[in-house]
């Protein structure tokens, strides 16, 4: 049979097998495993069948725990079932995994091994999750490469059916799950030969079936539980053998032989490493390299970690083994050693005693820890590990890959030591997310992998910022399989796709001597040299680089490609790298373009092909002179105004130098200062808004909608203008209350992302030239320097006394200082304007618990945080607990703070004689409903602290510790719809039922935005989302209605773009309500498929409300207490059809292109949904308060928000 090769990533490789060998998949999104579920959902939507000719059922659940429960149920009733997850998701599955294993149920859980959140969350790879599941009774099968991931998916499936021990098949998150690699496909024919159908039938026979009823899941008492638990032993005794049997059969079919413990290296090795996961690949190739130089090294690749086959392990070791270094990719603080090390020690002890294998004496066993959170694990580190093992005084417990200057565990290594073979071409590409670099490189790998004899590998490093994200593509090509599971650090080819990166990254450092450097630049070959910063010139000279330039932006513009220079740069790469002959490469690129873009229509294909054709005429070589002539140096990446400690840690992380930071640079408990995003000057915007003070009506809308808080308003005394820069603008404040004062709107030129939302919402037009508004976009570069000075001057102007601001009027409220600025959210984000507004109102006394998701990433991904402080140093304090428990986390804040306030009041009263009755009465009875009340209480607390200072009594000391709690704190839980509607719903429900004063803000994007747009229960009917590839069939859950049913919950549904003051009012109401509050905020999102670049986000919010798809309302239990209807329906009856809204967003519109009949049907239902919901809410809002028996009056057509 001819071999079939494909160039795919690990997730697709695994999903390919899992889908074909199963009937049911229980799924839930979590990085980096989400893609497996997405593939399955998509294939099911496309009608792809499994091995037995049926389309598997793919069911998305509300959490991983839910998915595990559904999987358990499906297995118990006899379906072949699998699931996919990682990290916290795996932890949520653990209770069911114990059950599934305890019931001897065959299944495979495919896990992209990912770090478990501790002092910080990390989406990257290590074994802390999978090793935590080692006690569940699942077997743990580890694959080390994309090829193995596909192979082991099938081996695991075959083995579990025979052994009845469920399999946890894991592969390294990102390194394997996201590596694109050329692999040999396992055909369906091979799958059929591997899966014994009699065993499938046996699985069905064991299933729960009322035709032959059984009882499972009993409760057992001390008399029998223990014995019954031991009954599974024979299955575990047999499991390793059966797994090897499946591996052997697989080898017969494919020629790829795997062993449970696979030894590679010298048969007489003395220095041996034990390792599992992707590190095996690099370890084995390093061993080969060292042995060729005469070394005696070996590596044991652990394939089946549990059940641990002691005999097999001993038999794998060469008899000559003197040192055995066991590498763990996890950390269990406080243990003697990490899990693999402990198991190896125990196995050696038992195995030697039993006389297994050929090893006669106990080797020296050393424990190493490496690679946490995808930390690089390179040949140089592996060499250091082997060197340590034979050192005079080896570190017996060490780490490698970091510098530990606290407990000094780390091994030193030579970062320049490399084993990259000469026949492997390596290439690095620095691109912007938005320019399509990664997509083009994935295509290049496919071209090379599928159209040549070469093997190819691609790995992609992404940004943690969503706006202006930088991507680095690491590509390798060569005649043999590529076992290099680490980043390219010696590259033959480096391409810089954006000229601005020259200032930010040392791209010549990884270039090999004589390598090729390609730069996209607007400057021609004869002028570019003089434009380069001196370090770049020096780098090119030093590396004897071949230097090429292309003006890709001009080519892209000329061919209608806009900012997408991907195809152009890809063509340059092929032309310069010589991987393929030029003409052939160009033909292949064109072929791939047709394949990739063909389904999106002819036009897209045509312009891409035009771009390819025009590229080579614009590619020029630049002679590199012998001397660097430039005097320009690289600018500082991080503001020099930052405090030294911030500059030296966070600043270095921002500059891309985080790898070099030692252990001592970090706090032990994950605590960092806030107000640090201000030091990143990202200069992302090509154009920034410019204020026209003569046209401005001072409404505050531009400032309110700015997602990155880069447009600010201030009102101040004219005297403060002294010393203003010449171009600083101001005018008279228009509000009557501020008569005689000056007003300024100022833009932060280096922080603006250029999203244009502000311009789009500006209602004021220039009367002589109505195409201009009161705020207009203008190129950033000429404005950068003067506006930087203006911005700094503006920041120095005093903030208006908060007591002088009418907070319910947007035009006044917007002068409040935002305590959330310059986040890493997408340009034009629909969530951040809400967060910013909340921080303006309550930020100085606010405690935030943030669900994992977009808002936790742009809120708290190192290096910086957008949460910041006011002039007094006050500001939001922020933490992210989990995805699922945000409401509970916030409730914990509340209970704790209430308790401390109560205790403080008790102490104040007890200390009344010392403190004085006035102060005590003031502190205890303080009105803290408005800014004035808060201000006065703060004054009292300051007085209290003064009085307590120096007092030594226990009560005084205790009171000092809790005195701050006397000022009312504002407790908030932030999250998205994935949290509130799905995974966190149970907790949210409990918290709103508790009656406690917790404010929950749901930024409802109607999908799991952060993980790439999977459907949630908030996803509206007819929307295409991942896990709903055929359009969401069901109606959106009405979370607000459910919450209102409690009667004592403040509930509001808002959409800032539809009615901004309504949003403002709702926030104020919610916060002032002394019980639980739930605000559901429509948040437009990049995942909606709308043109965020043109600032349309708020328009879409308006459309949603005007079509009745989204309602505005406030339900305030305080009104019921006043015998009024608690529900105010604040939006008017629909004046547009729902389809007017649906067709404006690609998430809906694309269904009309993919499944027009379904689209028609679902859109009609969506109209019906909107109408019936409107009728219901109108009816409820029109009801007289309960009990008077009068009929409901007619529904109002509009009930505008009270200003």
């Amino acid at each position: 049979m001819s071999k079939v090769f494909a160039t795919i990533d690990g997730n697709e490789a695994v999903a390919y097998v899992a889908y074909r060998c199963n009937e049911v998949m229980g799924i839930y999104p979590i990085t980096p495993s989400s893609n497996m579920g997405e593939w399955c959902d998509q294939w099911a939507a496309e009608g792809v069948k499994n091995l037995w000719g049926t389309i598997p059922s793919v069911v998305e659940m509300q959490s991983e725990a839910g998915a595990a429960g559904a999987v358990h149920g499906a297995l118990q009733t006899g379906a072949l079932t699998c699931t996919f997850t990682a990290s916290q998701g795996l932890m949520l599955k653990i209770p069911n995994m114990f059950k599934i294993a305890g019931e001897m149920t065959p299944t495979v859980f495919h896990i992209t091994a990912r770090t478990i959140a501790t002092h910080a969350l990390s989406i990257f790879g290590d074994h802390s999750d999978v090793l935590l599941a080692r006690g569940t009774g699942f077997s743990l099968l580890s694959s080390a490469s994309v090829q193995e991931a596909m192979d082991f998916a099938l081996i695991g499936q075959a083995a579990t059916l025979e052994s009845r021990v469920p399999v946890l098949h894991f592969f390294d998150g990102f390194r394997t799950s996201h590596e694109v690699s050329k692999i040999e496909m396992v055909t369906e024919d091979i799958m059929r030969q591997m899966i014994d159908e009699d065993l499938v039938v046996a699985h069905r026979q064991r299933a729960m079936n009322p035709d032959r009823p059984v009882l499972r899941g009993t409760a057992q008492n001390p008399d029998v539980f223990f014995q019954a638990r031991e009954r599974c032993n024979p299955f575990y005794d047999a499991c390793a053998g059966l797994t090897q049997k499946a591996m052997d059969k697989f080898a017969q079919l494919t020629g790829r032989q795997y062993r449970l413990f696979q030894y590679e290296g010298a048969p007489d090795a003395t220095n041996v490493m034990v390792i599992m996961g992707s590190g095996c690949e690099t370890a084995a190739s390093t061993v080969d390299f060292l042995n060729e130089e005469g070394g005696k090294y070996g590596v044991v690749k652990v394939r089946l970690y549990r059940p641990f086959d002691v005999r097999g392990f001993l038999e794998a070791l060469p008899p000559t083994t003197r040192t055995l270094t066991v590498m763990d990719r996890t950390k269990e603080p406080g243990s003697v050693g990490d899990p693999l090390y402990l198991d190896v020690l125990a196995a050696l002890s038992e195995g030697l005693a039993a006389g297994y294998g050929t090893l006669k004496a106990m080797p020296r066993v050393i424990a190493g820890r490496y690679g946490l959170s995808s930390k690089e694990f390179t040949p140089a580190m592996i060499k250091a590990v082997f060197d340590n093992a034979v050192a005079a005084q080896p570190k017996l417990h060490f780490t490698v890959g970091i510098t530990d200057d606290v407990t000094h565990l780390s091994l030193a290594y030579d970062p320049d030591w490399s084993i990259e073979p000469a026949d492997v071409t390596r290439a690095l590409f620095y691109g912007l997310g938005s320019d399509g670099t990664v997509g083009a490189n994935k295509n290049s790998i496919k071209i090379i992998g599928e159209d040549t004899e070469n093997y190819a590998q691609g790995y992609f490093v992404y940004d943690s910022k969503k706006a202006g994200a930088v991507t680095v593509s690491h590509l390798r090509f060569g005649p043999e399989t590529i076992p290099s599971t680490y980043l390219v650090n010696k590259s033959n080819f480096v391409a810089c796709h954006q000229p601005v990166f020259l200032e930010r990254y040392d791209m010549l450092k990884p270039l090999v001597s004589g390598g090729t450097f390609l730069l996209n630049t607007p400057y021609g070959a004869n002028e570019i040299w003089d434009k380069l910063p001196r370090p770049v010139q020096e780098g090119l000279i030093h590396k004897r680089a071949k230097f090429f330039v292309i003006d890709a932006i001009s080519v892209a513009k000329a061919t209608g490609m806009g900012s997408r220079i991907n195809t152009i740069m890809q063509t340059c790469f092929f032309a310069l790298s010589g991987v393929l002959p030029r003409e052939e490469a160009i033909e292949q690129i064109k072929k791939t373009i047709k394949k990739t873009y063909g389904k999106k229509g002819e036009e897209v294909v045509k312009k891409n092909i035009a771009a390819v054709e025009q590229t080579l005429a614009n590619l020029f070589e630049v002679p590199v002179p012998a001397q660097a002539g430039s005097t320009t140096d690289l600018p500082l990446p991080f503001s020099e105004h930052a405090p030294r400690e911030v500059r030296e840690t966070l600043g270095r992380i921002y500059a891309g130098d985080g790898e070099a930071l030692p252990v001592s640079a970090f706090p032990a408990d994950g605590t960092f200062p806030t107000a640090t995003a201000q030091y990143e000057k990202r200069n992302l915007a090509l154009e920034i808004p410019v204020w026209d003070e003569k046209t401005c009506i001072q409404c505050g809308k531009c400032a309110a909608v700015c997602p990155h808080a880069t447009i600010r308003m201030k009102v101040y005394d004219a005297a403060a203008l002294a010393g203003a820069p010449a171009t600083f603008k101001s005018c008279d404040a228009r509000s009557p209350e501020w008569k005689g004062m000056k007003f300024t709107i100022q833009v932060a030129p280096e922080d603006c992302t250029g999203c244009v939302l502000c311009v789009d919402v500006c209602p004021a037009k220039n009367k002589s030239e109505p195409r201009l508004k009161a705020i207009n976009m203008s190129p950033q570069v000429p404005l950068r320097v003067p506006e930087r000075a203006n911005w700094e001057f503006f920041l120095g102007l005093p903030d208006l006394d908060r007591r002088r601001i009418k907070v319910t009027q947007l035009r006044q409220q917007q002068v409040m200082r935002p305590l959330f600025e310059f986040s890493g959210a997408c340009a034009g984000c629909g969530e951040t304007p809400y967060i910013k507004m909340v921080t303006q109102l309550f930020g100085d006394r606010m405690i935030i618990g943030n669900a994992t998701g977009c808002s936790s990433i742009y809120g708290g991904n190192l290096p910086t945080t957008p949460y910041c402080t006011d002039h007094a140093g006050r500001g939001p304090t922020w933490n992210n607990s989990l995805f699922e428990d945000t409401a509970e986390f916030a409730l914990g804040f509340r209970v704790s703070l209430d308790k401390q306030m109560e205790f403080a009041q008790e102490l104040v009263k007890r200390l009344a004689p010392q403190l004085g009755d006035d102060l005590v009465s003031g502190l205890v009875n303080a009105q803290q409903r408005d800014e004035a009340g808060i201000y006065e209480q703060r004054e009292r607390v300051a007085a209290l602290k003064q009085k307590l200072a120096g007092q030594t009594s226990s009560e005084a000391k205790m009171l000092l510790g809790v005195a701050d709690a006397l000022v009312r704190k504002s407790v908030w839980g932030f999250g998205g719809d994935g949290w509130a509607y799905d995974i966190g719903y149970g907790g949210l429900d409990h918290v709103i039922a508790s009656g406690r004063d917790v404010n929950l803000l749901v930024m409802d994007t109607e999908v799991y935005s952060n993980t790439g747009g999977q459907a949630s229960k908030s996803t509206p009917r007819g929307a295409v989302a991942k896990f709903a590839a055929g359009g969401k069939p069901g109606r959106k859950k009405d979370l607000g209605l459910i919450a209102m049913s409690y009667g004592n919950v403040y509930v509001a549904s808002v959409a800032m773009g539809a009615k901004d003051e309504h949003t403002l009012r709702a926030f104020i109401d919610a916060e002032s309500y002394p019980g639980p509050s739930l605000i559901i905020a429509y948040s437009h999102c990049i995942a909606h498929g709308i043109d965020l670049d043109r600032g349309v986000g708020m328009r879409h919010q308006k459309l949603a409300v005007e079509s009745g798809q989204w309602l505005l309302y406030r339900y305030d239990p305080r009104r019921a207490e006043q015998h009024e209807n608690p529900l105010l329906l604040d939006s008017a009856a629909a004046k547009l059809k729902v389809t007017d809204y649906l067709l404006a967003e690609n998430r809906f519109k694309m269904l009309t292109k993919s499944k027009p009949e379904d689209a028609r049907r679902l859109f009609e239902s969506a109209q019906f949904d909107a109408e019936t919901r409107w009728q219901l809410y109108s009816y409820m809002a029109a009801r007289k308060p309960a009990g008077n028996g009068s009929p409901a009056p007619a529904a109002p057509t509009a009930a505008p928000a009270k200003a």
Partner: protein, 331 residues
């Protein structure tokens, strides 16, 4: 009463038919048109720019934000196939052909040479009986001479005629320095029919919001006089069939324009206001008038009031204008 007529070489039972309008987007309306006696139908125009934009928009929306951030490398499922470009339109042609027996004329609206031939071929393959090229072109470039504009029309027509064997009509605007010469050139270039005229929607200003408005105004009967004049002038002077459209709302309108020399009268605004079934009402009234005035057939009256055959040929020319002005008195 014999209402039959020949248009683009197609034998039609009646000269009344809906023009390219939103109603013919709907299959039920197409059936209704046949039931009401329409001689043929013109499907709504497929817009060249729209097709191009649709493809580009979909690509842009699906690509936006992708491959940037590790957790969300894309935001939408990878749908295998999209029905894009003219796919829907082509299927609509097929469905319309299956639903009715009267000729189905497809229509393309565009302004460039490039896209036309490709779509025209697909439309032919989809089974349309004829093709109407709706050249909706407003030249605004101050450096573009009128001859170049005329050349564009002719180039489009020629390239389409070369690509397909279908009868091809051209729907054009009256804004040529010499409409008659333009008609002659199109006729010579092989146009099987001329559709007079395209009604350009004219912009307005929204005073409150200081925006340019693009609301659609339905035609009034006054609009009928423009095609009437040019149909009358061209009748007998070009080989191409003549279709009149704009402002034909009543049987009298239709009769007048047929007398001027139109082979068919295309209805739009009146059908949008009164529904497709109104074709039958107009037909009834037309029949009644013809019977009352003892006409035997539409053919008999066709062109009877054209410039060639009418009692006063100068009435269609400048001389007539001078007479009106000189004799006009304020009311």
């Amino acid at each position: 009463m014999d209402l039959s007529t020949t248009y683009l070489g197609l034998k039609l039972r009646s000269p009344l038919m809906p023009s390219a309008c939103p109603l013919t987007r709907d299959l039920d309306e197409i059936k209704r048109a046949e039931d009401a006696g329409a001689g043929a139908i013109v499907l709504p125009s497929v817009f060249e720019e729209q097709l191009r934009r649709e493809s580009e928009e979909l690509d842009a929306m699906l690509e936006k934000g992708t491959e940037s951030y590790a957790e969300s490398l894309s935001y939408f499922p990878q749908v295998g196939e999209f029905r894009l470009g003219p796919d829907d339109y082509l299927e609509h042609i097929g469905r319309a052909k299956r639903a009715v027996r009267i000729p189905v004329i497809a229509s393309i609206n565009g302004a460039s040479v490039g896209g036309w031939t490709e779509y025209a071929k697909k439309i032919e393959q989809a089974g349309a009986d004829a093709l109407e090229l709706n050249i909706y072109y407003i030249p605004t470039d101050l450096d573009l001479p009128g001859t170049a504009v005329e050349a564009t029309y002719l180039d489009i027509l020629k390239s389409v005629k070369q690509a397909v064997r279908l009868p091809v009509s051209v729907k054009l605007s009256p804004f040529f320095s010499n409409m008659a010469h333009m008609a002659r050139q199109l006729d010579t270039a092989g146009a099987d029919g001329l559709v007079l005229f395209n009604r350009f929607y004219q912009p307005d200003i929204d005073l409150e919001n200081l925006e340019v408005e693009h609301s659609i105004l339905l035609s009034t009967p006054q609009a009928r006089r423009l095609p009437l004049r040019w149909v009358a002038i061209l009748f007998g002077k070009v080989k191409a069939s003549l279709a009149a459209t704009s402002g034909i709302h009543t049987a009298h309108d239709a009769i007048k324009i047929l007398m001027a020399g139109a082979d068919v009268t295309m209805l739009c605004s009146v059908l949008l206001r009164k529904g497709m079934t109104h074709i039958a009402v107009i037909e009834q009234e037309m029949k009644r008038w013809l019977e009352e005035h003892e006409y035997e057939s539409v053919a008999q009256m066709k062109g009877s009031m054209s410039q060639e055959k009418c009692p006063d040929p100068t009435a269609f020319e400048r001389a007539q204008y001078m007479r009106i002005i000189s004799t006009w008195k304020p009311a």
